[in-house]
């Protein structure tokens, strides 16, 4: 009995599922980790979906022409900084309605990437491809049942993501700067009295968020597939927003929640391959349904940063939306 279980857990089918779970989780995880910074600092980033799709295209195009995926990711980081600055300018300086701007920015970015892809590559029957990042199997560790395939049979970008999760935890819970971020998101007036530059803190946090979302998008095109498809993020930026709620704005919570979604996605992809009698449409729905169901359980008890979504005005006056 136990022997059967063990041989199932180490079978190539199940191991393939586990590796795919993490691979599919990484883009959402990166975006949601970015979201921890800006939401903890009190500004929302509904534009994650848009940031991700821009990252996907930038990473892909620059990798395609430079021949190096890392240069592509570097370019995606640069675009992430730019988008973060733009969003910061709108949400922090202009104090526009953050939800309305985020939704509009997403639509703009989807339109922009489709247009640019068409301009750069024209209409071709065979879509351009790049060689995606290779999988690096870590010796010994990758042999641990279950954990090995999930954590240690991944691309370099995935390993970097784990480190980013740890760094984020250290910043948020162990550093003065993390305290500033949390203070800016909980009570900006009090934070400012204590000498925290709320506006600067928020700008930094939204830029970090932009960078991480953009890398998350670039992961889709440069690490998991090696190609770019219009609208390839398919709502992942919004799922990342849900992951933040489910993971309670905590780096490890986000890690687990994102992995859960990766697993759901991997499950539906694999089930499609097995040709069961389930129409594929119902399988593709699975991650979205899961997102709604899990949100139902977590939204009530999960508490968002107190000042989230409220623009901050140094003069103390509330700005109109």
């Amino acid at each position: 009995m136990i022997g059967d279980l063990f041989s199932f857990l180490t079978s190539s089918i199940f191991e393939g599922f586990l590796t795919a779970s993490m691979r599919l989780a990484i883009p959402i995880m990166l975006a949601a980790i970015g979201g921890i910074y800006n939401e903890r600092a009190g500004i929302s980033n509904i534009g994650m979906e848009g940031f991700m799709i821009v990252g996907s295209l930038t990473g892909f195009v620059v990798s395609y022409y430079s021949g190096s995926v890392w240069i592509g990711i570097l370019a995606a980081i640069f675009l992430g900084i730019l988008l973060g600055l733009i969003m910061g300018y709108f949400e922090i300086t202009l104090k526009v309605n953050q939800v309305v701007f985020g939704i509009s920015l997403n639509l703009f970015c989807v339109g922009l990437t489709s247009f640019l892809f068409r301009i750069i590559f024209g209409i071709t029957s065979n879509s351009p491809r790049i060689t995606p990042l290779p999988t690096i199997v870590i010796p010994i560790l990758s042999k641990i049942p279950v954990i090995g395939p999930i954590l240690f049979q991944q691309t370099a970008l995935a390993y970097i993501t784990y480190i980013l999760v740890l760094i984020t935890a250290i910043i948020m819970y162990r550093s003065a700067w993390g305290m500033n971020i949390i203070a800016a998101g909980e009570n900006p007036e009090a934070a400012e009295t204590m000498g925290v530059d709320v506006i600067r803190t928020r700008y930094y946090s939204i830029i970090i968020s932009g960078v991480l979302c953009s890398i998350g998008g670039a992961f889709l095109s440069t690490a998991s597939t090696g190609l770019f498809v219009q609208n390839m993020t398919a709502g992942r930026g919004y799922i990342a927003l849900a992951i933040l709620v489910i993971g309670r704005w905590d780096p490890f919570g986000v890690f687990i929640a994102a992995l859960l979604f990766g697993a759901a996605d991997a499950l539906q992809l694999r089930t499609q391959l097995f040709n069961f009698d389930i129409p594929y449409q119902f399988l593709v729905m699975l991650p979205y349904i899961l997102c709604m169901v899990v949100m139902i359980f977590f939204s009530k008890s999960s508490r968002a940063p107190a000042a989230l979504g409220e623009p901050y005005d140094r003069g103390g006056k509330k700005s109109e939306i």
Partner: protein, 366 residues
């Protein structure tokens, strides 16, 4: 106490102020459109095409002939109808991003009714189909608000998720239970003549849905600006706590604004199915539910503004394909310009901010 004359004067003052506000507001929308078109011209120039030629082809394609005008208005129908629904929801600060899914499901159920009673008189059948579409759209949207009220679940995220669910569900329906027998395509059988919307302009596809759209715009304007319900929506959207303190049933405002929004999206779906496709197809909407969001914003969440924005966007979309064939600028450039308009509109405060800064600098220099 004010006497009657004072009251009258105050009222006049109010009216004047409101008119001035509407004018500046309209000005910022128009400004955003012009600026986006200028940026678009630069992009077109970079593509190696003369922007004037491109825009001439665009305008020609959108408004050049009777037929192109009809097509432009036809495209404006789903954008305007869905847009006024989104207007009501956004005004109540219910961020319904789910119009696309609501439209798909509304169209499907309207077509199912049409297919079930093909011989019914149009005067009965068409309203039945419309009602089926509206109820379906409203219920689908309503779920997201119920989840918000009961579980505090974010309605914006949920409506997005529900878009994907609805579109895949409809895809399964038109490939499965309601697929046209013998057809390999994702579509239902064609609607009977009784279930098709009558044409109002000969030799074009412009159907009666356009007239209904105009009426719905008037109705929604009335609802938002002249009824208690509309007042409650506006107050709740501005300040939920104040409105709660004033005894407004905030939960009902949230739910009803979404039901209205979903119903409008469902109605738009009915128009697309019964007016243009004459059946349900897999890709009944090319993102109208999303474009309607920016149409609603550009229209300043004012039903009449939304109608104008919808006609503008309809014209841009219809003209885009003419422009593509005439001068080779991809139609997606126009999609880009559309969204750029809205980004610029949202960021309109930047201009006054920059002017302020410049004035300050000049003072310092002097």
């Amino acid at each position: 106490m004010f006497n009657k004359a004072d009251n009258h004067n105050i009222e006049l003052e109010f009216k004047k102020q409101r008119r001035a506000e509407t004018l500046t507001a309209a000005g910022s929308s128009i400004g955003a459109v012009i600026l986006a078109l200028i940026i678009g011209a630069v992009i077109i120039r970079l593509l190696g095409v003369n922007p004037f030629d491109a825009y001439r082809a665009l305008i020609d394609g959108a408004f050049g002939t009777k037929n192109s005008i009809a097509e432009t208005l036809l495209r404006a129908v789903p954008l305007a109808i869905t847009g006024i629904g989104i207007t009501a929801a956004f005004r109540a600060s219910i961020f319904n991003v789910g119009a696309e899914g609501q439209l798909y499901l509304g169209a499907t159920s309207a077509v199912c009714v049409g297919l079930a009673f093909p011989t019914l008189h149009p005067a009965i059948l068409l309203p039945l189909m419309a009602i089926a579409g509206m109820i379906t759209g409203a219920l689908w949207g309503g779920i997201a608000v119920l989840l918000k009220l009961k579980f505090n679940a974010n309605e914006m995220i949920n409506t997005i998720m529900m878009n994907y669910i609805a579109i895949y569900f409809v895809s399964w329906l038109v490939h499965g239970p309601i697929q046209q027998p013998g057809s390999p395509l994702g579509q239902t059988a064609g609607l009977s003549d009784n279930a098709i919307l009558p044409i109002i302009l000969k030799q074009t596809r412009l159907h009666i849905g356009f007239i209904i759209t105009l009426l719905m715009v008037l109705l929604t304007g009335f609802l938002i600006y002249r009824t208690v319900w509309g007042y409650q929506i506006r107050v709740t959207g501005k300040n939920m706590f104040a409105s709660q303190a004033a005894g407004i049933k905030v939960k009902w405002v949230f739910l009803s604004s979404m039901l209205f929004s979903g119903a409008m999206a469902g109605l738009a779906g009915f128009f697309e199915a019964a007016g243009i496709q004459h059946r349900m197809i897999e890709n009944i909407s090319s993102g109208y539910g999303y474009t309607a969001i920016v149409v609603a914003l550009l229209g300043q969440l004012n039903p009449f503004g939304v109608l104008l924005a919808a006609i503008l966007f309809g014209g841009l979309q219809i003209g885009a394909s003419t422009m593509e064939t005439a001068v080779g600028v991809p139609a997606s450039a126009v999609t880009l310009i559309q969204y750029l308009i809205v980004i610029l509109f949202i960021g309109r405060k930047a201009f006054s901010l920059i002017i302020q800064q410049m004035k300050k600098n000049r003072k310092v220099a002097a």
